[in-house]
């Protein structure tokens, strides 16, 4: 096989693996469910198109012109999309460095590892472009339907942005390897990915709070101060937005820039990729022992030992650390809103209560999965001399205590604004967290902690049940904080969700 044939074969191999990985994530690894998943996906896509139509129809009703306001909103939307693509690309590139699966095979094969890693980097860009295109498709298609086919050029812009995001992620990851070493790169890259993915959205919300006292980013983007501060209409800054609006020259410029950038990155860094991947894969081989005297064993009963183990593992989980950081980052705007309105007559607790309940409900679901399903030594725990329900209780206590530690300062701050609001929020968080834990218990599957990323694909029912339960408890808490009886129907909806989840679950 010549070099070109090898490259083409390897590209096909990489894309097949990426497709199977995605298909498995969607079907939860069960091929029998593929048809059901396809039908479900089609219904979901149709619903998203309907939602996109509802949002875009009033805006595009008279057609979109390249006004300053349109350019600002489009550019901000593209920047937010790009920040999410960057976040995804950083995660994918880092994972490619640490994936040991076929590293030995690649490096021991007679094919050029530089070429093979070039294909691997390119396939990350292609997979990223496909994923983002899928997410943006309802809006792009609807805009094309409402305002003309020139909107379809947005797909090309997304592809170009994916090339740039992947190239930048490779540079960033290699810079991290060189500066902090392979041992710390994964954790730091995951934290950067979390921050990059959330930063722009949170920044806009912070600006909205400081300028307008609300969480609406559109108030900021459509404000006269932004229009005045923005570059003039002829600036290159608007090139991506102009490309989306149908400017062919702008589109070609963006595509050439994206492809050129990734090609340059591949040409310069593909050879180093292999060396760093080897270094990353060897991290475990040269982990240093901690120096100094260790603390003595603590006297513990079995349930205390289980709780201590869960906390130690939660603290040391890099993926969880980045996810928790992201949850906390998303809480920054509401916390800022609380601080800004402290002492005023506005009922900020009514806005904050549902946000906090929603965030902690979701966090509890993730932690509960780690504690109940993600058990790395199930045989050890199952053969320990204690009742199964004592094991479950101890693990859930560990989750609830971890949630309490993170939530307590926020509830305390809320208490300064409204005691009743703080009490309602505390109860809401406790109930939402308990519900999320219960759902995880009903849909428990045997897994290891490193399968955490795929936990939501194991059961779509549990994922939706967890999301709806958190939403309804958040609604109930918001109304309760406002002293409204509308809290009751939301609480009933949450209970109905839980009941349905229980009866559908394998334990029901």
């Amino acid at each position: 096989m010549n070099a070109t044939a090898t490259l083409s074969w390897f590209a096909r191999h990489e894309l097949t693996l990426a497709w199977r990985d995605w298909a498995q994530m969607m079907a939860g690894g069960r091929t029998k469910r593929e048809r059901a998943v396809t039908i479900g996906a089609l219904v979901f896509v149709a619903l998203l198109h309907w939602l996109a139509y509802a949002i875009l129809a009033p805006v595009l009703h008279a057609g979109a012109a390249a006004s300053k306001q349109a350019l600002v909103i489009l550019t901000a939307t593209l920047m937010m999309t790009f920040s999410m693509m960057m976040s995804q690309a950083i995660e994918q590139v880092t994972r490619a460095f640490y994936a040991r699966s076929d590293l030995d095979l690649i490096l021991s094969s007679p094919a050029s590892s530089k070429h093979l890693f070039s294909v691997r980097i390119a396939s990350i860009a292609i997979a990223g472009a496909m994923m983002s295109s899928l997410l943006a498709a309802p809006f792009i298609n609807t805009a094309a339907f409402l305002d003309g086919p020139h909107w379809l050029s947005a797909y090309t812009i997304i592809a170009a942005m994916s090339l740039i995001a992947t190239g930048a992620s490779v540079i960033g990851a290699i810079a991290l390897f060189k500066s902090v070493g392979p041992k710390r790169t994964r954790l730091i890259a995951q934290i950067i990915a979390a921050v990059v993915g959330a930063a722009l959205l949170i920044g806009l919300q912070v600006a909205a709070i400081m300028l307008y006292g609300n969480l609406s980013r559109f108030d900021v983007l459509t404000s006269s101060s932004i229009a005045a501060a923005a570059p003039n209409d002829a600036s290159l800054f608007w090139l991506p937005a102009r490309a989306v609006l149908g400017d062919a020259v702008a589109m070609i410029a963006i595509v050439v820039a994206g492809a050129g950038f990734l090609a340059a990155v591949i040409a310069h860094y593909a050879a180093q990729f292999g060396a760093h991947a080897v270094a990353a894969a060897s991290v475990s081989e040269f982990s240093d022992a901690k120096g100094g005297a260790r603390r003595p064993f603590r006297p513990m009963i079995a349930t205390q030992a289980l709780r201590a183990k869960e906390w130690a593992l939660l603290k040391r989980d890099p993926w969880l650390a980045s996810q928790t950081l992201m949850q906390i980052l998303y809480l920054v705007p509401p916390a800022l809103l609380l601080w800004r309105d402290m002492g005023s007559e506005t009922h900020v607790h009514v806005i904050l209560a549902p946000v906090l309940v929603m965030a902690f409900g979701q966090l509890a679901g993730g932690l509960a999965w780690l504690a109940t399903s993600g058990e790395d030594a199930p045989d050890l725990v199952a053969t320990a001399p204690l009742q199964r329900r004592a094991i479950t209780r101890a693990k859930n206590e560990a989750v609830l205590l971890a949630i309490s530690v993170v939530a307590a300062p926020l509830i305390l701050a809320l208490a300064f604004a409204s005691l009743w609001g703080a009490a309602a929020t505390a109860i809401g968080i406790a109930v939402a967290a308990t519900s999320a834990i219960a759902i995880q218990l009903w849909f428990r599957v045997a897994a290891t902690r490193n399968q955490f990323r795929r936990r939501q694909t194991a059961s779509k029912t549990s994922t939706f049940a967890e999301a709806f339960s958190s939403i309804f408890w958040a609604g109930a808490t918001g109304f309760a904080a406002a002293g409204s009886l509308f809290a009751l129907p939301f609480a009933v909806l949450a209970l109905v969700t839980l009941a349905i989840a229980y009866f559908i679950s394998p334990r029901g």
Binding site: S287, K290, R298, A302, A305, A312, D376, T383, P385
Partner: protein, 256 residues
């Protein structure tokens, strides 16, 4: 009387999946014995031992460990036994000492005694240089030794090991065999499955052979030889003769 009861007694044990995995199996293992459970792949060894460890529910039959009925008093039975699976299941983010502290906590050991035991096991098993290294950095052999240390720390009366020597280098395998021998000498019962027949032949006082979910032969090496019609002098020949797997190999060799 618990003290007079055998370490393990199984009566008419059954477990069926698509086909019977364990089929009316009965077995009695006295205390202080090194027992090897042998059988071809898929014979039902691991299924049997997982039922003994309380990790699988039998369809029928009785299991008692040191006189304790596993189904009626599961917690009490678990407190006197330890199970080590073939794949070492330990926590990547804990170091070996933290892992042993956790296991000691699960078995509600006195903290001071647990720490002394942990340090001794770490030393005996050659894990000292890695005692404070997170387990994600350990090789499979070292992980296997950490799992074994976890099984030994609470001084169980019965230790069940599924393929404990897989992945161990010669020096580590010797360390593990020595530790197990010492435990047996001190009155502990060890039940081990293995495909390395030389190890079973050299270490086990009694050997059970399972095929198709049934115990087809049981006894000392010479008793097994008699049961196999004096088919051979070493365990490999006896095993192949008992399980019938030797015939196919012989014909294949002959054909070749």
């Amino acid at each position: 009387m618990r003290s007079a009861a055998p370490a393990l007694e199984i009566k008419n044990l059954r477990k069926t999946y698509a086909r019977p995995a364990v089929d009316d199996l009965s077995l009695r293992i006295e205390r202080g014995v090194f027992y090897a459970l042998l059988g071809p792949n898929g014979a039902g060894k691991t299924t049997t031992l997982r039922m003994v460890a309380g990790l699988l529910q039998p369809d029928a039959g009785e299991i008692s460990i040191c006189g304790i009925d596993v189904r009626r008093a599961a917690v009490e039975a678990k407190s006197v036994m330890a199970w080590v699976p073939d794949e070492p299941m330990i926590y990547d983010k804990l170091d070996p000492m933290e892992y042993l502290e956790f296991v000691a906590g699960l078995w509600a050991m006195d903290a001071k005694r647990a720490e002394v035991q942990a340090r001794a096991l770490i030393q005996i098993l050659g894990l000292e240089p890695h005692a404070n290294t997170r387990c994600q950095g350990l090789s499979k052999g070292m992980r296997q030794k950490v799992a074994l240390a976890g099984a030994l720390i609470h001084d169980p009366e019965l230790i069940i090991l599924d393929e404990p020597l897989t992945g161990l280098d010669a020096a580590s395998a010797r360390q593990v065999k020595e530790v197990l021998r010492q435990r047996v000498a001190n009155g502990t019962t060890v039940i081990m499955t293995t495909h390395i027949l030389e190890v079973a032949e050299r270490m086990a006082e009694r050997i059970g052979v399972i095929a198709h979910g049934r115990l087809i032969a049981e006894g000392t090496l010479s008793e097994l030889s008699a049961q196999a019609g004096h088919a051979g002098t070493n365990l490999e020949e006896i095993f192949l003769s008992l399980t019938g797997t030797g015939t196919a190999t012989a014909s294949t060799s002959a054909a070749a």
